[in-house]
């Protein structure tokens, strides 16, 4: 079920009606039923898979909590991690593994090939697996209380607003909120509705429109030259941002309308003036997940320099692999790791040369913002390309043939509108960056009437310019 569908509107209204009108002890049950209806609307069997992952983590955490023996705790943790990751490995990485084995076999002239698995990827599997696992890990590290109510725990894993594309919530935040009985709050409803409209606009008006041009170019990069490839890449940078942050906004907004506060997943990432800042502002729930459950257990930065470099690479490569079972994603992760290290070396060089004062200059910061944006956009080539060879072809072409005219897409009007919408997005973000307009639920300096008019226009924009309900990019992860 997509957020930009009438089915979702119907489910949300029904859920809210029930949720705010049933006795407190039944509230979680309402959310549990809605969440499973939301997921089963797509595939019932995969809803059962999600239930299985939830049950495994629920019982493992109980066992970890109850047992005093450290070795027993470790066994239960390992069992839980292994069983939870099995479906993810099978559905998401099975064919990637087979493809690589087959490539190796062909290199050594072995004629037999392994058969590919005939599977489709359960929507949001990476998200609910990571969410369930984070709870078990937190119980193991004694960072959260154990949950004894199975329905509540299953609701935590399947909470429909953020089920299929995050933000990946922690038990300390969401599970704790599920224990409270929320009443209808008019302010929360208005805040949620406003954020939902903005998220919807980003998704159906901006992202889906940019996708038309990007798909056309990236499906046949050999047909296009530098100007078109550069523009398609820049369009993709905005497309993926609007698509994913739009979804996150709608998820946070939906939860907010029901009284829940989910974590912020984006914080104006394209206004970052360093790669490290970019990763603190882009898909924050995943970055912090990897920070807490991978980077820190590896030793983080409190290790030797070589090991730190290793840790950086591990985190970015795993992050790349998390996004998709393709070498393009791994390479994308590797590029970001390199950017991160270059930046670190650059900072050290500035310190050595006693040029740290330059960091206070506005022009320097704007210049760095631009450099970071260009770097991040360049890395998107590897994220979006269909294969490594495509990505390398695009990389090569954008540094060579600039003489060809720019391809304006199938419709000049769509192209012009796409460009205009990017300016609208940047304009709004500039207002948010300068704290004039509200970002998430922060206070706004815009007069209420003007703000209401703005949201009205956004809603009319959605109705007038909204594209058909294409799936969200991040569903595939």
């Amino acid at each position: 079920m997509l957020f930009n569908s009438w089915e979702f509107v119907f489910l949300l209204v029904l859920t809210m009606l029930f949720y705010f009108n049933v006795p407190n002890k039944l509230k979680t049950l309402v959310l549990f039923v809605s969440s499973y209806v939301f997921y089963a609307f797509w595939r019932l069997d995969f809803a059962l898979l999600m239930a299985g992952v939830s049950v495994v983590n629920y019982f493992s955490a109980l066992k970890i909590f109850k047992t005093k023996s450290v070795s027993q705790k470790k066994i239960w943790l390992s069992t839980s991690v292994l069983i939870s990751l099995l479906p993810l490995l099978y559905f998401k990485y099975g064919n990637f593994f087979i493809s690589n084995v087959n490539s190796v076999l062909s290199i050594i002239d072995y004629t037999e090939e392994l058969n590919y698995l005939k599977v489709i990827l359960p929507v949001g599997i990476s998200f609910f697996t990571f969410q369930a696992l984070s709870y078990t890990l937190d119980v193991y590290f004694e960072r959260t209380e154990v949950e004894t109510d199975l329905v509540r725990f299953c609701t935590f894993v399947a909470f429909f607003p953020q089920l299929v594309a995050g933000p990946i919530e922690r038990s300390t935040n969401l599970l704790a909120q599920l224990k409270k009985s929320h009443q209808f709050n008019r302010i929360h409803f208005i805040e949620g509705a406003k954020l939902f409209i903005w998220g919807l606009f980003k998704k159906v008006v901006i992202a889906d429109r940019l996708a038309l041009y990007v798909n056309k170019v990236y499906e046949n990069p050999e047909l296009f030259d530098a100007p078109t490839l550069v523009l398609a890449t820049l369009f993709f940078a905005f497309q993926i941002y609007c698509d994913f942050s739009g979804y996150s906004d709608m998820a946070i907004a939906t939860a907010r309308m029901m009284g829940f506060k989910l974590m912020q997943n984006f914080n104006l990432p394209y206004f970052s003036n360093s790669i490290s800042e970019f990763w603190k502002s882009w898909h924050i729930s995943l970055s912090t997940w990897f920070g807490d459950y991978l980077y820190k257990p590896l030793g983080g930065s409190r290790v030797s320099y070589i090991k730190w470099v290793r840790n950086i690479f591990i985190v970015f490569l795993v992050s790349g692999l998390w996004h998709g079972a393709n070498w393009t994603f791994i390479l994308w992760g590797a590029i970001h790791a390199l950017f991160y290290l270059f930046e670190n070396w650059g900072d050290k060089l500035l310190n050595k040369l006693n040029l740290t004062k330059i960091k206070n200059h506005a022009f320097y910061n704007i210049f760095k913002m631009l450099v970071v944006f260009i770097g991040v956009s360049y890395a998107w080539i590897y994220f979006r390309a269909q294969s490594i060879s495509d990505a390398l072809l695009i990389s090569k072409k954008i540094f060579s043939n600039w003489s060809q005219p720019l391809y304006l897409g199938a419709s000049t009007i769509t192209f012009a509108l796409s460009c205009l919408l990017i300016f609208v997005l940047l304009g709004v973000q500039l207002l948010q960056y300068t704290k004039i307009s509200s970002l998430y639920f922060s206070t706004s300096k815009v007069p209420p009437l003007l703000s209401a008019l703005g949201y009205l226009l956004l809603l009319v924009g959605v109705s007038l310019l909204g594209m058909s309900s294409q799936s969200f990019i991040y569903f595939q992860f």
Partner: protein
Amino acid sequence: MYKVTSKKFIAILIGFILAFFLIDYIVSIVLSKGLEKYYGLSSNSELAIIGHSHLMLGLDKGNMESSLGVEISKYTREGVNLAERKIMIEQLLETNKNIKTVILGVDAWSFTDEGLSNNSYKLFFPFMDNESINRYLLTESDQLEFFSKKIIRTSRFNELLIGGALRGYMGNWNNLKQGKIDVVKLQEQIKSGVYRKIDSKKKSISILEQMLTTFEKKEIEVILLNVPTIDIMIKAQENKAKQVYNKISDLANKYKNVRFLNMQEPWSHKYHLFYDAIHLNPMGQKEITEEVIQYLNDTNK
């Protein structure tokens, strides 16, 4: 934190919804009027041009109006099949009572169902207040789509239609398809069998007959105009194309008020006039328009 009382909340909610529907209504009316101007609907036009993109890019309305001294409605839409053109005719005849002559686009694919847009019915949503269009849309779209567009009027538009509305207000009917066809690429495509196949569906022939009967009843002169298609494309299926042209010619002979103007030659081999295999560029449009003006002047003498 500011407070919102129940009364204020309900007032905000109702006010917002009402304001949304008000803006929605105003915007949709403005756009509909623009589209009417663009297509020449609800006007006093005596001559109407009806067809799909082939004819849209083939004839220059502005040039024809100034040369012939008559008001023209150019109701041409991308990807519409014959059945949809029939709906367009019904709509046009409902709104424009002075039509005396119609130039109806035909081509070698006139009786082919496949290859045109599957969702071209969406182009008709802005006119769903019209009874015949409403009936047609009810059969083509699913109920949720139909009723959501009934309620939220701006959702009936897309940027193509918004562009049309803006062009209507600006009085701009120019052919914007600048550029020339890549003949080598087209030949490669044809060699590999990637081209639209010509077919002769009885149902489509019957629809054309129904259209011509309607015009006959209303005593409207009809010119079945075949704007040239590039010869490479026609040669790939020459016999089938000939059969279609013959059928159109037969139909024209059957009705007193109908003439068939086949402009395939001598233009189909002038590759510089084509934007792609089917559509003319502004240069091609100019040549064909002048020829049609000449034809109309000659026949009206």
